[in-house]
Structure formats: C-alpha cells, structure tokens
C-alpha cells in the first residue's frame, strides 16, 4: 500500500488534469477509514462519504456474489444532478479511490482516464 504522502501527490496530479474536483480519498474497504484524504470544500464531509461508500462497495460485491458473477469489480460511477462520484479499486482490491467532482467542470471520460493513469503510477 502506498503511503499517505504518495497518495496525496497522486490526488494533486489528478486535480491538475481534472477541473472541479471536490474531494478525493483512498479508503480501506474493510473499515471504511481513509488512508489519505483531501477535500476542497469545507462542507463536504469526506470521512462520512468514504465510510458509507465502503458500505456501498461491499453491497455491490455481495450482489455480484449473489449473481454468481465471476468478473471483478473495477470501478463504480455515480451520477448526481450536479456531481460525479467515481470509485475505483486499487491493486489488491482491499482499498479504493473515491473521488467527487463538480459535474459542470469535467466529464466522465476525462475523469476516468486521469484516475486510471495516475493510479497506475502507484503500482
């Protein structure tokens, strides 16, 4: 697992690529605790968002098991009326990156490409 400092550097590089990033965190799937977190909006409670998104991911994995799907979960995209939320697993599958971005500032393609590119640099 990369350390907090290197994860924060990755967050910075993603923000260089993507306009409108609200908050980014790497979250321990099991506990929902953040391993690194950065928010650009004081009213966005990243600890709460990370915790409940870990539950969301666990539920999705349960659904996949219930459906007997043999594929692996790579990422999850949630589209809100004014925000994109992207969840992408880190190698090993026990932690994930969670990113919230202002929908008016970016698009999903740029977001996914940038996150994939910079997360790859961690491995």
């Amino acid at each position: 697992m990369p350390n907090e400092k290197s994860l924060l550097e990755v967050f910075g590089r993603i923000e260089d690529d993507v306009a409108g990033v609200i908050a980014t965190a790497v979250v321990d799937l099991e506990s929902g605790m953040t391993l690194a977190a950065k928010t650009n909006r004081a009213d966005f409670d990243l600890a709460v968002a990370s915790a409940y998104n870990s539950e969301l991911v666990k539920q999705k994995l349960k659904i996949m098991r219930a459906l007997n799907l043999k594929s692996s979960l790579e990422d999850m995209l949630l589209t809100l009326s004014d925000q994109f939320h992207l969840i992408k697993f880190l190698p090993g599958g026990n932690s994930f990156l969670y990113l919230a971005a202002d929908r008016s500032g970016t698009n999903l393609a740029i977001l996914r490409i940038s996150v994939a590119k910079h997360l790859a640099s961690l491995s």
Partner: protein
Amino acid sequence: MAVLDPRSDTVVIRVVYDGAPMAGKSTSVSALGAGLGADVFSPTEVGGRTLYFDWLDYTGGLFEGRRIRCQIISVPGQATLAPRRRRLLESADAIVFVADSTPAGLNSDRGYLAGLYQVMARLDGPPVGVVLQANKRDHPQAVPIATIRSLLDEMGWRIGVIESVATEGIGVRETFVFAVRLALDRVRELMRAGHFPTAAPNVDTPQDLLNELKRSEDGSMEYAAASGLLHTRLSDVWQQPIASEALAQVVTDNLNPAPASVSRQTDAGGDYLPALPDERVASGMVWPPVDGRTVLHEIGQGKIQLTRSPEGAWTGFVNGRWQIHSRADAVYEDLEEGRSVLIQSARALAAKTRGRSLERCVVLAVDGHGKYRLWLIVRIDGTQQ
C-alpha cells in the same frame, strides 16, 4: 474498553500509542490529527513532555453499519510515570508501539516492549492487537527492519511492523488504520462472546480521562513527574528506587539480531497462480482474529516463492520464518462454503494449539480468479524449508 454507545449508535474503540520517551508518540498523534483534521488535546505538558496523555477523538469508517469512534491516546513515556502508562495500556483495544529506530533508541525500545508484553500478558478477554510503528526511518543510523523483527522474535512476540517518519507524517496513517482493523477484530470477538456492552463509555472526553487518572492516583504520580523528569528513559533510572514499579516491568535480554530480506515476490511458473492473503482480508476471514492479522501483515511484506505439488497443493516459504500452504481442493466458489471450512479448521487448530503461543493461523482469501482459497500459515525455523 470497546462499547456500543447507544446515544450516537457508534462503536467506540480506543487506540493507545505506547513507546519510549522521544520515540515519536506525540509527534505521531499530532501528525495523525493533522491528517484527519482533528485537534489533539494534551492536559499537561512540561518542556514538550507528555505528563498524562495526548487525546485525539476521531469518528470515521463503519463497522457492521455503525460509525466507528476512535479515542486515540498516547501514554507518557517517562519511566517515573510507569503506573500511569500501564493504566492507559490496560484500557486499549489496539496498541501502536512507536519504536525509535536509532541504535540508542532501540535499547530503550527493548525495555518498553518487554514492559508492554507483560501488561498484555495479564489482560483478560480477546487479545489486544499490537502494531509496531518503526519510527525515524529517515535517520542515517536507523537499524534495519530485520533487526527490529529479530528483537520481537527473541521476545516470542508476533506483531506487525510498519515503517514511519512521523515528523513528515509518513507511515502514520497507515499504522493507525491497521490498528483500527486489529481493534475491530477484537470487537468482533467480544461480540461473539457476548461481552460487547451497549453503554455510554465511562470516559467520554479528555477531561473524564484526566479525572479518572487523578482519582486513581494519590498524588504520588504528581510528585514522581515533578522529581523524575530528568530521568526520562528506563535506562536512566535503572538504579533509582523511585522507579521501582517501572523496573519491575523490565526484562533485559541481550539480543543478537540477524538480517532478513523483505521484498515480495510470487512465481510458480504455472498458468494459475493464486493471489496470496495479506493483512487486509475482511474480519471473520482469519483465525485467530487479532494475532492472525498480525501474521498476515508480516507475510504480506515478505518474499514468497510459491510452488505447486503434483497433486495441485500450493506451498511457499516467507523469509525462512513462515510456511504458507493451501491444499489443492481448498478452493471455494461460494464465500459461505469457504467460511464454514475456515471455522472447522479454526476449531481444529484451536484444539491443537490450546494454551500455547500463536505459531499458526488459517485464512480464507480471494484467490484472484473469482474464488476463495483457504491457507494455513505455520511458523517454521529457518532450517525447515
């Protein structure tokens, strides 16, 4: 002290930072607080030294659908305050031992680790997980991690080791999250045994803790703190009668550390290579729950060479210290089926190892191919490979 607080529907756990004076306990808690955006409260400090504790309150994460509230506390390191330190350690659900990686610091670490070990040995209930945060890794004379592991081996203590540079915040958060996992493993065990209380925590604020400590002390600690601040490390007070209680905790060993390699590698030369388990497996997937995760932490950092037998079983050795084995048929498509076998294996193992120190664990982990594989991990000596 873990409780389910009905007022806020949160699981309250306590993570205690222990270690020798100047090892970096307060620095680690401060760095953690800065990263988490939470303030650290220190009731009394003299010359930058903690006299009671540092307190950091953080709510984050989820356990069984409930928020996790962490009371993060560092102990005073001064030898003269050993009873205060012991009292705080006894209240922990997980402990981060901050070790000073410098050669001089390691001498102090040894005594404090021995003291911690003795405190842990006296505790009832599910084991309290301990992780060693090897601090000051940026120091030019920092001892190799293998030396620290050897020290732990000599004590017969199986705990995870994570490197850090607390002054730069490196490794601090990672250590904390690992400690939280250990604490949650303990909570799960308490729940299973029906010993997880639903109640408001006895200590809810730093002031509560301060009051509790003061109530339990008759003023002697105030005197000790005032008179003993010059004697900050156990070795400084070795001949001082004032630290008799601290000295009683100390076991002195002459350790001869040996180097070991620490890089991870898997290669079996076949088309199917199962993913290896590490300390991030979900709660309930490793037995014993707390100590097993600690073993997995070490396995996850080591170099593993897996080989497949003609029958299809997988075996590997980790740094000459552990053997990891999975039978050919120990693979399950269904998680519940795998867990049922895990429980059976754990029962058999518990019967076999009754009353003895942990030298093995079983774990169910994803195999990287959409299934679950059961692994048995056994401690070996270096000659058994």
